[in-house]
């Protein structure tokens, strides 16, 4: 057994009264890909911030290659060969590729940049990543998310990195880019670099990682060799209990039609979409990212213009409507972009939940905070949202709990037709099951649910019917049990 | 497309007022302390009238440009305007300097560029680089005020009047001259007069004048016979206080300058008289001097006669509605005035020339 690259012992970190890390023990070996898994809020991000020097631990010790390691900042950590790629891309959009890669590592003589030397370094780093096509002098603002991530990784390669942390690296990537990333991770591993890989996708971990450690409630609760431990066991470790069913179903039956789309077309996407959604039905829309699924929901909701075709809600044809009118017709939208659009992260839970329907709490336009809080609190309980009090900021909650708050708003709005765009995006396994159960309950209560998801097992698991979007054109919906995953992929890629 | 061009040209026409182009012989730039005051509008009208007279009588074409800071306290802008106008072809400049010292440098630069400067309204500390100083003789105005007030008091049988000099502000050149003229006049005409107060300052506005006048009047209301207030705001502020105490008409107030409320107070007898300046004449004569200089005349007798007074006019209840009084500020009456023009000899080489 080789000596570990990094050893963390008894790492503790608290933010005010909340303990994020409660004595974490972790060992990473040289040249291994080590997966770090855990629910949102388990402490993975905090632990990695401690590792990369962005946060100082309250207690505990770290050892890097046998010597004490206590970075006083990210810069210090980079000097020791520890680099981190953040989930939210850390990029200066106004700077060039080169400036971004070099940021904080510019070689200089008397304060002046040595541009020639630096450009060579950047080119070499990009070549090493297999991305010679990214030009150092281009502004980063012009690059795709995948290329931006490459820029970030190149930044890590500029130092002699021995320990690289990747936090949810594939969340913004296409499948092809993801595979290139896996290749890269393997190559780095071959060079003796230790990679910490954080992901929600057990499939990804299986594809790329050697060992894993599960984090729960600020503690490492188990680790092992990938492939030797079954999925169910890992999930059990993550949630702290056996997950009885990954896709719980509540029995429900379809009723009359509430939403009918006929040859709907938007500005660019979608091009042609027809479907009928019934009460008590969960209709899934599959398709690849960018095929026009989100745009379809936005057009129905009135956020994007409708160019052709018709939207019929409750037997009333009203194709071009504003979101205000759609809300009035009982339609609710759960946005895919929770952080930017779905929730006001700096506002309180109660404000977020009640925003779409304040009328029950106002008398002559004056709001009653008390009643508003009560209503919010009851919804939060009902959805089992882990929170302190309803006046807390949404941003303080974990991803899964934030998503439940977004659901709470739809429930409060009392929408009949729910348009759910990636309802489990960035949500941990435990919360996912709760959200599936909730969707099932809503359908059983006579609501009509339209679910857009990129995660096929999810659609197959919870939907009654599924339609597939391909390049803006929607196939007719078929009962879910008449689709196989292969058929859906074929339909989605136009094969 | 041609239609667009046509509309564009039509749209631009309002800006293209004088399409004649600058074929004028002389361009005289009038630079007041500020743009908004009625005083400066009279100066402008006087200058324009002078230009019209010159064209009519001698065929000398003069273009008058009125260009001053929008705000009276914008010290930098006045300097900028002088430099800008000198650099872009002004023949002469009439300047009412905002400050007697800080404005010297730009006047010197104008002179160095060969552009004569006539100083108007307020003095300039450097007497070597302008060609004429055309302004109200404030000292003389103060003396006129003293004469009238003493005369009126004697009419009432007050041979040993008790007086208040309600000063304006520290460091204000023009009003200090008026105050000095008043004091000297009183001492000469009526040495036995008693001064109750000479050390209270009215400050810049009518409001501040009222605040200062209140306690002063309260203290001396049983003794005071006559009051001199050396400008418009101090005079109206004082009258406001006297009215509120019921002392108007009992105490004689002498003012300086004019405004609607002040003239009305004269008519009602609450103010016994005021000394008015003649900004119209100031604009006229300064333009005249500037053009005569440009025509090669010696406007200051070899730098011995630098000052030209524009006259100070005593306005009382008797003449407040007379044409001569209205001619001081009313545009219609100004237009009917005939201004007597001083004549100058030709400049002799080596004498009377600048620098």
């Amino acid at each position: 057994m080789t000596s570990p690259r990094l050893r963390m012992t008894g790492i503790r970190k608290s933010y005010g009264p909340t303990a994020a890390l409660r004595g974490v023990e972790l060992e990473l070996l040289p040249g291994e890909v080590h997966a770090l898994v855990g629910e949102n809020g388990a402490g993975k991000s905090t632990l990695m911030k401690v590792l990369s020097g962005a946060e100082q631990p309250d207690a505990g010790a770290m050892e890097l290659d046998g010597t004490a390691y206590r970075p006083d900042g990210p810069q210090d950590a980079r000097r020791r060969g520890v680099a981190m790629i953040y989930q939210e891309l850390a990029i200066c959009p106004d700077l060039t590729v080169e400036a971004n890669v070099l940021l904080g590592l510019e070689s200089a003589a008397a304060g002046f940049l040595r541009k020639g030397t630096d450009r060579g370094r950047v080119r070499r780093a990009l070549a090493e990543l297999g991305h010679e096509e990214i030009r150092p002098e281009d502004p980063v603002a012009d690059l795709t998310p995948a290329a931006r991530q490459v820029v970030e990784i190149a930044r890590a390669l500029l130092t002699d990195v021995t320990l690289l942390v990747l936090d949810e690296p594939t969340s913004a990537l296409t499948q092809e880019d993801a595979h290139r990333l896996f290749d890269l991770v393997r190559r780095l591993k071959g060079q003796g670099v230790t990679v910490v890989y954080i992901s929600h996708f057990l499939e990804e971990i299986e594809a790329v990682a050697d060992r894993f450690t599960v984090l729960r409630d600020g503690q490492a609760v188990g680790s092992g060799v990938v492939g030797q431990v079954p999925h169910d066991r890992i999930i059990e470790l993550m949630v702290g209990r056996a997950v009885d069913e990954q896709y719980p179903r509540t029995p429900h039956t379809a009723g009359g039609p509430v939403l009918e789309l006929t040859n709907l077309a938007g500005e660019v996407l979608p091009q042609n979409a027809s479907l009928t959604l019934h009460r008590g039905e969960i209709l899934g829309i599959a398709g690849i990212v960018g095929s026009g699924r989100t745009e379809l929901l936005r057009a129905v909701y009135g956020l994007d213009p409708v160019r052709r075709g018709s939207v019929k809600v409750h037997a009333v044809v009203n194709s071009a409507a504003t979101p205000v009118e759609r809300i009035g017709q009982g339609i609710g939208l759960l946005s895919e972009d929770r952080k930017e659009e779905g929730l006001a992260l700096e506002q309180s839970l109660s404000d977020n939940i009640t925003l779409s329907r304040l009328s029950p709490f106002s008398t002559w336009g004056v709001l009653s905070r008390g009643r508003l809080r009560e209503a919010a609190e009851s919804l939060l309980r009902q959805l089992n949202v882990r929170h302190r009090d309803p006046d807390q900021m949404v941003g303080e909650l974990s991803g899964g709990n934030q998503q439940k708050v977004a659901f709470a708003r739809l429930l409060h709005q009392d929408a009949d037709v729910l348009l759910l765009d990636e309802p489990t995006k960035g949500v941990d396994v435990g919360s996912k099951a709760e959200i599936y159960r909730l969707i099932g309950r809503l359908a059983a209560g006579g609501k009509a649910v339209l679910v857009v998801s990129s995660y096929l097992p999810e659609l197959l698991g919870i939907c009654d019917t599924i339609a597939v979007m391909c390049r803006g054109v929607l196939t007719p919906a078929r009962p879910a049990d008449q689709w196989t995953p292969e058929q859906i992929i074929a339909a989605a890629t136009g094969g | 497309m041609p239609r667009t061009v046509y509309y564009l040209l039509v749209a631009l026409c309002p800006f293209a007022g004088g399409c004649g182009g600058p074929s004028d012989e002389f361009t005289i730039v009038v630079v007041p302390k500020g743009m908004t005051h009625e005083h400066w509008q009279s100066v402008r009208r006087g200058a324009e009238r002078c230009a019209a007279d010159l064209a009519a009588e001698e065929g000398v074409r003069v273009r008058v440009i009125f260009d001053g800071p929008l705000r009276e306290r914008d010290a930098m802008e006045q300097i900028r305007i002088i430099d800008r106008r000198v650099a872009t072809g002004a023949s002469g400049v009439l300047l009412a300097p905002q400050h007697s010292k800080t404005m010297t440098a730009c006047v010197e630069r104008a002179a160095a560029a060969g552009v004569p400067v006539v100083i108007i309204d307020s003095g300039l500390a450097d007497p070597y680089h302008y060609v004429k100083y055309v302004a109200t003789d404030n000292y003389h105005g103060g003396r006129l005020a003293a004469e009238h007030l003493i005369r009126e008091l004697k009419k009432q049988g007050k041979e040993k009047p008790r007086l208040i000099l309600f000063r304006y502000a520290v460091g204000s050149e023009s009003t200090e001259q008026r105050e000095k003229g008043f004091e000297d006049g009183v001492k000469q005409l009526c040495p036995e007069a008693e001064w109750l107060s000479t050390d209270k300052y009215a400050g810049a506005t009518r409001d501040s004048a009222m605040r200062e006048a209140g306690p002063l009047v309260l203290q001396f209301k049983d003794q005071v016979d006559g009051i001199f207030a050396p400008n418009e705001s101090s005079a109206t502020g004082m009258v406001d206080v006297l009215r509120s105490q019921g002392l108007n008409k009992k105490v004689l107030v002498m003012g300086f300058d004019a405004s609607k409320p002040l003239l009305q107070a004269i008519q009602e007898g609450d103010i016994v008289g005021s000394i008015l300046q003649d900004p119209y004449r100031m604009g006229y004569l300064s333009t005249w001097c500037c053009v005569r200089y440009l025509l090669g005349e010696d406007v200051n007798e070899g730098r011995t006669q630098m000052e030209l007074s524009t006259g100070e006019v005593l306005v009382t209840r008797e003449n407040v509605t007379a044409d001569s009084t209205l001619g001081l500020f009313n545009p219609d009456y100004q237009g009917r005035r005939v201004i007597e023009k001083p004549r100058f000899p030709k400049r002799v080489a080596g004498r009377g020339g600048e620098r």
């Binding site: 940021l103 | 305007i81 800080t102």
Partner: protein
């Protein structure tokens, strides 16, 4: 992995961009020049407008806002704002005159006294900037608030030190360099100091590590911090440099106005921010160039000059500047969205 993703739509080499439009400030400059040439041409004053003398006037009047603009550019790129510059300029003129007068009366030599006074004046500007920087970093005040406070303090101090009046030079003791700085001419040392400073700031922004970090901090502060950029130090340097530049502008103003005057520089901050934003800088930070800032000042100067010299109604000046500002920012946004 069963999640569906498109085969490949990304990470293709950035296609050569279509030949970009002429940059906003150039368009604005050309438009304003054309407009006034047309307006003034119709009235027949073109020879004056385009004369060497008027060019000298334009450059002379633009010197102060341009020097202040260089500092404002640094601040805007770093994602901040500095509302105190106008008041600091006034304070610098007053302090310089006070120090000079005292030294001259107590000690004597005009040249030495005035040079010491200039040093003190510039240092006062730098000190105000340093204070701004510390308020923004140490006290974590938003730049808008910190510099708004400094605006009040500097203006108040200036009025107090000047005892509510305008301070003139003692009789016969105006230093020779004051006249040289105040003269409208291409040989004006103030103008050449501007050229030098512009080159220095351009070099700082594009050739040095500090410059790179200023852009980075303004573009994405969190990223800069993660990458090990010393964000507080960068900001303090930016505000101090801006203060020093403002201090030097104060000295030029001191010479131009021939006085120490606490009312100078009113609304200078708004003029300068307008100019620098017209020049392509963004209040959001991360953007802006020296050429753009100088062009922005030139555009504003051109508008004021044209309006003032050719009897275009004065209110046109404000309307034109407003329209130009909005059009420019809208144009930038449109070009960005089109990409």
């Amino acid at each position: 992995m069963t999640s569906l993703s498109p085969p490949d739509t990304t990470a293709s080499p950035a296609a050569p961009r279509p030949s970009s439009l002429p940059a906003g400030p150039w368009v604005g400059f050309a438009a304003v020049l054309a407009l006034f040439t047309l307006l003034i041409g119709i009235r027949g004053g073109l020879a004056t407008f385009l004369s060497v003398g008027n060019l000298e006037v334009l450059i002379h009047e633009g010197t102060i806002p341009a020097i202040v603009g260089l500092g404002m550019l640094l601040v805007l790129i770093s994602g901040g704002i500095d509302l105190s510059v106008g008041a600091v300029v006034a304070l610098v003129t007053v302090v310089t005159m006070r120090v000079y007068t005292t030294l001259y009366q107590q000690w004597g030599p005009v040249a030495q006294s005035s040079l010491i006074a200039v040093g003190v004046g510039v240092a006062v500007g730098g000190l105000c900037g340093l204070m701004n920087g510390l308020l923004v970093t140490r006290v974590s005040l938003p730049p808008f608030v910190a510099t708004l406070g400094m605006f009040g303090i500097a203006r108040g101090l200036a009025v107090w030190l000047a005892e509510r009046t305008t301070l003139a030079f003692p009789d016969g003791a105006t230093p020779g360099w004051v006249a040289a700085l105040a003269k409208t001419s291409f040989a004006n040392p103030g103008l050449w100091s501007l050229v030098l400073l512009a080159l220095l700031i351009a070099g700082l922004l594009h050739l040095t590590v500090l410059g790179r970090h200023i852009y980075a901090v303004g573009s994405n502060e969190a990223t800069a911090r993660l990458c090990g950029v010393n964000v507080p130090r960068t900001k303090v340097l930016v505000y101090t440099l801006s203060g020093l530049l403002t201090g030097w502008a104060g000295i030029v103003m001191f010479a131009h106005s021939n006085s120490g005057n606490p009312t100078l520089g009113e609304q200078l901050e708004l003029d300068v921010i307008t100019a620098v934003v017209i020049g392509g800088a963004s209040l959001g930070g991360g953007k802006g160039t020296v050429v753009g800032a100088v062009l922005g000042v030139a555009i504003l100067g051109l508008i004021k000059n044209g309006v003032s010299l050719f009897n275009v109604p004065v209110e046109m000046q404000y309307i034109l500047i407003g329209v130009l500002l909005l059009a420019n920012v809208a144009l930038n946004r449109w070009r960005r969205d089109r990409r």
